[in-house]
């Protein structure tokens, strides 16, 4: 309820800001795309009787305007999806809906925002501010906007950020017809929290980041509702009950850029509810430029992640991937690789191809093939979900 009031207040405030400008002087950018998608699954119907195909439409719209000679900025960035099979995958989100005020060395920001922390290509373990939409993408890389008030102070020693975050958003999981989906449904009616304030708890984070020579360094601390809930099987309902502990996480991320070699490291120590855990993820990326005297580049990415929680899904995983970039007029590129659980036998092959086919059209082909997965691995439920997705984006 309060959230609705604040959003309508923001709307009125933004209208006032825009109206207070000389109409002719308003300079804005507006662009976006609409992207129909078709997915086909190789192994017939899924383990949970899901369909062997799916269709979906994804949209993204961006609006930016600068006011008062660039001292103020309004950004609206909306994403949404209509999914044929999974109602949990149909959504609309203001990933960004923010007002920024720039002072000399200080930036004040109010509204919905996406904040990314980290340096890795695959395992961004320190990235904590935004909630994941697992229905959109089971790997958790697609995020929802997080309402916040944030201050950034740009000092010659580096950048200091403070984030105050009300309005916790629960994680979204694939629904009953989603593919891939968890073995059991997550029960929305039994969500529990460690904090007595539950989703009204106001979360906070601080971050210091700097660039020193070839090093990009970030140190951060987060205190608030964990974005990732514990999921426990409820024997009565045969559903998963979600429990959000309070997370107190300190993290470090570093990238070192040495010529064609990038070295990346993310590490954290965190108290999650009563228990403390440690995580580390990192690797290297090496790029061969001008492959065999052509304009193509080939990047080789090796990354690994470790977490000392035995029951954690990604406690010992590795990625080996190749990224081929043709550097042609069509921006053709292919990323392909292998994700492997180093302590079990489960592994997955993936390939992502993209090419611009007209100035306002781009085609994407994503493929994911699951190898044999151990029955005790949490990804066992995805074993039959090998798939091919074709997406065509029309830009405006």
């Amino acid at each position: 309820m309060l959230k609705k009031y604040i959003i309508s207040f923001l709307f009125v405030f933004l209208q006032y800001l825009v109206a207070s400008q000389n109409a002719a002087a308003i300079d804005y950018k507006a662009y976006g795309f609409i992207q129909p998608e078709i997915t086909t699954f190789f192994n017939g119907d899924g383990r949970h009787d899901q369909s062997n195909s799916n269709q979906s439409i994804f949209v993204k719209g961006t609006f930016i305007t600068y006011l008062n000679n660039g001292d103020q900025k309004i950004t609206i960035n909306t994403t949404g999806r209509i999914d044929e099979k999974d109602s949990e995958r149909s959504y609309i989100d203001f990933q960004k809906f923010k007002y920024e005020q720039y002072f000399d060395d200080i930036t004040l920001k109010i509204g919905n925002e996406l904040i990314f922390w980290g340096v890795n290509e695959s395992f961004n373990i320190v990235d904590i501010i935004n909630q994941s939409n697992l229905a959109e993408d089971i790997s958790g890389t697609k995020k929802f906007g997080q309402p916040m008030i944030s201050l950034n102070y740009n000092h010659s020693y580096g950048n200091f950020d403070l984030f105050i975050m009300p309005f916790f958003k629960e994680r979204i999981f694939p629904g009953r017809n989603g593919r891939p989906r968890l073995a059991l449904e997550v029960d929305k009616s039994t969500v529990a929290y460690e904090s007595s304030l539950k989703k009204n708890k106001i979360d906070a984070a601080v971050r210091y980041s700097t660039v020193y020579d070839d090093y990009d360094i970030g140190i951060a601390h987060f205190y608030g509702n964990n974005r990732s809930p514990e999921l426990n099987v409820n024997p009565l309902s045969q559903k998963l009950d979600a429990y959000y502990p309070i997370l107190s996480q300190t993290s470090l991320d570093i990238q070192s850029t040495k010529g064609a070699w990038l070295y990346k490291l993310e590490t954290l120590t965190a108290k999650n509810g009563e228990e403390r855990h440690f995580g580390i993820a990192g690797g290297t990326e090496y790029t061969i430029y001008g492959l065999r005297e052509t304009t193509s580049d080939l990047g080789i990415i090796v990354e690994y992640t470790f977490d000392d929680r035995n029951d954690f899904a990604f406690n010992n995983e590795g990625v080996l991937a190749l990224r081929w970039t043709k550097n042609d007029i069509k921006s053709t590129s292919l990323l392909a690789g292998l994700v492997a659980d180093m302590s079990g036998s489960s592994n997955r092959f993936f390939a992502e191809f993209e090419q611009r086919i007209r100035d306002d059209l781009k085609v994407f082909i994503d493929m994911s093939i699951n190898g044999e997965i151990d029955a005790d691995d949490f990804t066992y439920t995805f074993e039959e979900d090998s798939q091919l997705t074709l997406k065509i984006a029309k830009y405006f």
Binding site: N154, Q255, T257, G259, L262, Y289, G290, I329, S331, Y395
Partner: protein, 265 residues
């Protein structure tokens, strides 16, 4: 008698002096002209502009790319300039921002904001010979304008279009260049008129023509059109600067990594 001898020696020294002056080696003369040509474009303090890039294939098909950029001159003569580039088209890259801190002897520092990822990435800049947005312009063509990045040699004077030019040969002294050498023609106002680029095998790769020179602040010559003709694949890239303004008073902090997010979507 002795005095006479001394006078003679003095005379001989003076007589020889002009000879010593003209005895500047081809390397020294090349360096001197290249330095003068480079310094011709200095003193702009900062710069904003919109840029158009027109890519033309051998069949005559054309596509246009639009970017806008800001550059901050580095007043420290031993370090390079800083630049921010905002990509407008093709539409799928709209909102992409690139920040570059160039250096004279080290690799440049570069960061890229990609809207699709929503993150700022530090990227490798050792990709000197790579194509900028699928064009015939390589990254090193932008970052390698400082004369100290090359060894120079004066080859003589050459007539072209009824004008006399200094002809200079240069060899990159940084790693990973796509060129074995470049041959430049420079006019008597120290403006570069044309550059031939030779690939690593020593064969002519492309020719750059610098056109539409405009005099800014009564002292700085800048070419507002660059035309690159690739001799080997027959592609042409035309790069145009529109609405170029100098000395507009840009805040230095706009060129820091954290400021990329002020431009980002």
């Amino acid at each position: 008698m002795k005095k006479m001898k001394f006078a003679k020696i003095i005379f001989i020294i003076f007589a020889l002096f002009p000879f010593y002056l003209s005895a500047e080696t081809a390397e020294e003369q090349g360096l001197r002209i290249a330095k003068a040509s480079y310094e011709n474009g200095r003193g702009f303090t900062d710069m904003v502009s919109d840029q158009l890039m027109i890519l033309i294939d051998p069949k005559g098909n054309e596509v246009t790319r639009e970017v806008s950029g800001k550059t901050l001159e580095n007043l420290d003569p031993n370090d390079g300039d800083k630049s921010l580039t905002y990509f407008k088209t093709p539409k799928d890259v709209e909102g992409t921002v690139m920040l570059s801190h160039t250096h004279i002897s080290d690799d440049d520092d570069q960061w890229l904001y990609l809207p699709a990822l929503g993150r700022v990435k530090r990227i490798s800049s050792s990709n000197k010979s790579g194509a900028f947005m699928g064009s015939e312009v390589a990254f090193e063509d932008f970052s390698g304008t400082d004369y100290r990045k090359y060894e120079w040699k004066f080859l003589g004077e050459e007539m072209e279009n009824n004008e006399t030019f200094y002809k200079l040969e240069s060899y990159p002294n940084y790693e990973n260049s796509g060129y074995s050498k470049r041959i430049s023609l420079i006019d008597n106002l120290n403006r570069t008129y044309k550059v031939d680029f030779y690939d690593r095998k020593g064969e002519l790769l492309k020719t750059l023509y610098l056109e539409d020179y405009v005099l800014y602040k009564d002292k700085i010559w800048m070419a507002n059109t660059l035309k690159v003709e690739n001799i080997q694949n027959k592609n042409i890239t035309i790069f145009k600067w529109l609405n170029r303004e100098l000395d507009v008073g840009i805040n230095k902090k706009d060129f820091e990594k954290s400021s990329i997010l002020r431009l980002a979507d």
